[in-house]
């Protein structure tokens, strides 16, 4: 067992250690606590990047695989962490986004930081765990842990609205968890194992009605967690009530983690052919497309900036899920590219909405009048990210939406192509509504653009970390939009895993 295998367990254990430390850091001063938080997540990011760089050749040839087993390998369930190209790709993008979000929250959160960071690092540990785990029971534990640890974060600012949102979130999250538990236990009674790879090998032996029950309960659990149409109304509330960095975490990062779990379950563990055979893939595809349209339409009537962003998230997640369910190589490319793009754009938008809140009373559209004059550069960044989400050419949102559209057209699925195009047009309307409100009144006593540019001198010198993080997200969106070919190699290797699950199964069972 080499050092790299032990890095896997370190990825989940390190955030837990930092979380425990943060719990007891009440006597620390603000500066040192923030330093430890940033260092902790920085080490986490360095570990993931080192895994990528040190195994660059293996990743490039799509035969990268690491695993770490705790306990005896012949028991029906062991704690087994495994990392292939798909998990490496998700771990990489998720950890980078969380790194920036932590830097933002060191300045944004001003009260009860020790509890905030403790919960935040526990969520990070559960996210890493659910990405790396190779057996069903550990996955269930980590999903439940994510739900339980994010709930106090949603009601972090104790008001009636946040408490209500957190309660609703927890009710739906736990109901989803119960459905997941039913599926898991049915699999255990039928096959006597909970290792995903072993389940994948013998899933065909289960009788068809039982297969249908298992798949339906898994789908129900994930539809609840992803906020797809019939059960979507908890999402805008929960994602808009919490502090801005947590909104970015929930909407930008966590939804992608659930999409990853969806891929793991329905491409690696249960072969996708079963979904097609039972006529479920078409149904879920259309449901996701309807959900996408409904999300965009509801965003039109939202008078709260964060609610609007949350509804737009429903629209994008529905679109990504639909394109993944087409099950072609082009569809995976578009879907994974849009997952990366949406991760950057939605995190950037929520973080800038948090920055704008400092100069306004609330996120209501009427309170946002004239905000473009008082925060010139931040609002300019906000507009650039908005244009990316709509799909304007030089930005990453355009590239990813283009490939999604292309995948729908190649599969001759015209309803999907219509939803992608219509979603973009509706998005243009609702973003313009906010932007025009922001520039409505005459200029007040804001800084001139020259003063703003001069304040950029201390870009990294902690004068304003929040601004810097928003600018970094904006720059990333422009850079990746121009040079999206950088992402081609990791995405193509991740697609290889989705198309050839046999490799993962063989390696997990062999080790």
């Amino acid at each position: 067992m080499s050092l790299m295998n032990i890095e896997l367990i370190l990825l989940t254990v390190l955030p837990v250690l930092i979380a425990v430390f943060m719990c007891f850091s009440t006597n620390f001063n603000r500066h040192s606590r923030n330093f430890i938080a940033v260092m902790g997540v920085g080490i986490e990011l360095a570990l993931v990047i080192s895994l990528f760089v040190l195994n660059f050749e293996a990743v490039k040839n799509s035969n990268f695989f690491l695993q770490y087993t705790l306990g005896y390998t012949d028991t029906p369930f062991v704690i087994n962490l495994a990392m292939d190209n798909l998990s490496l790709f998700f771990s990489l993008i998720v950890t980078s986004a969380i790194f920036l979000i932590v830097i933002f929250s060191t300045q944004y959160i001003t009260a009860k930081e020790n509890i905030y960071f403790a919960l935040f690092f526990l969520v990070l540990a559960s996210i890493q765990g659910s990405i790396l785990t190779a057996d069903l029971f550990t996955l269930y534990l980590f999903i439940e842990a994510i739900t339980i640890f994010t709930t106090p974060l949603i009601s972090f600012e104790k008001t009636e609205e946040t408490t209500r949102a957190a309660m609703q979130y927890l009710f739906y999250g736990i109901t989803g968890g119960v459905f997941f538990f039913i599926s898991m236990i049915l699999i255990y009674f039928n096959l006597g194992t909970l290792k995903m790879a072993a389940v994948a090998e013998s899933f065909a032996l289960i009788s068809t009605p039982m297969q249908l029950t298992i798949i339906i309960f898994f789908l129900l659990a994930l539809i609840i967690k992803l906020g797809i149409f019939p059960i979507h109304f908890w999402l805008p509330r929960a994602h808009s009530a919490c502090p801005a960095p947590i909104s970015a975490l929930l909407s930008g990062v966590l939804l992608k983690v659930y999409l990853y779990i969806f891929m793991r379950l329905f491409w690696t563990m249960i072969a996708f052919d079963f979904l097609v055979e039972l006529h479920l893939s078409d149904f879920v595809l259309n449901l996701a497309l309807v959900s996408s349209l409904i999300g965009h339409v509801f965003a039109l009537q939202a008078d709260d900036l964060k609610k609007m962003l949350a509804y737009s998230s429903i629209g994008h997640i529905g679109m990504i899920l639909a394109v993944l369910l087409l099950n072609t190589e082009a569809a995976f490319y578009g879907g994974l590219l849009h997952i990366t793009a949406h991760l950057m754009m939605k995190s950037g938008l929520f973080l800038s909405s948090g920055y704008l809140l400092q100069t306004t009373l609330s996120h209501n559209i009427n309170d946002l009048r004239g905000i473009g004059h008082t925060n010139r550069l931040v609002f300019a960044a906000f507009i650039i990210i908005c244009l990316g989400t709509i799909g304007m050419p030089p930005l990453i949102g355009f590239v990813s939406k283009w490939y999604v559209l292309l995948a729908f057209l190649k599969a001759r699925h015209f309803f999907g192509a219509f939803v992608v195009a219509a979603g973009s047009i509706i998005a243009l309307i609702y973003y313009l509504r906010y932007i025009s409100h922001a520039y409505e009144t005459v200029k007040e006593d804001g800084k001139s653009i020259k003063e703003e540019l001069l304040s950029l001198k201390g870009f990294f010198s902690s004068t304003n970390k929040m601004k810097s993080v928003i600018y970094i997200f904006t720059i990333l969106i422009v850079i990746f939009g121009l040079g999206f070919k950088i992402l081609e190699m990791p995405i193509n290797t991740a697609i290889f895993e989705l198309l050839n699950p046999e490799k993962y199964i063989e390696l997990v069972l062999g080790g």
Partner: protein, 111 residues
């Protein structure tokens, strides 16, 4: 057969309390009832009338109950208890703000 019947009745009772009742505490009870129904079913299904499954050195074991479902259930109970505690805490907080624990009344107050 009887266990299946009890499972279905308990589960549906819990589901009914979760969906139809407007009292939030009754909703929590419903959720817990659903979980309890599943745990009950898992335990009774895995009971094949064997011995307690503790390994004894030097003795060949006869028929024994599978310990894995019991372990899963134990973990499930822990998760259920913690979520119930968290939910009840949030309901107490909500009661401080709005003075009621009725789901519909809270919605009406805010809209």
């Amino acid at each position: 057969m009887l266990t299946n019947l009890i499972f279905i009745i308990l589960f549906m009772l819990g589901f009914y309390a979760l969906i139809m009742k407007t009292n939030l505490i009754k909703n929590v009870i419903g959720l817990n009832l659903m979980e309890a129904a599943i745990f009950f079913w898992v335990i009774s299904f895995s009971d094949i009338g064997g011995e307690v499954s503790i390994h004894k050195f030097g003795e060949t074991m006869g028929k024994f109950n599978d310990p894995v479902p019991q372990a899963l259930t134990l973990t499930g109970i822990v998760i259920g208890a913690s979520t119930a505690a968290l939910l009840l805490t949030l309901i107490i907080e909500l009661n401080k703000f709005s003075g009621t624990i009725d789901r519909d009344q809270i919605e009406e107050l805010n809209d």
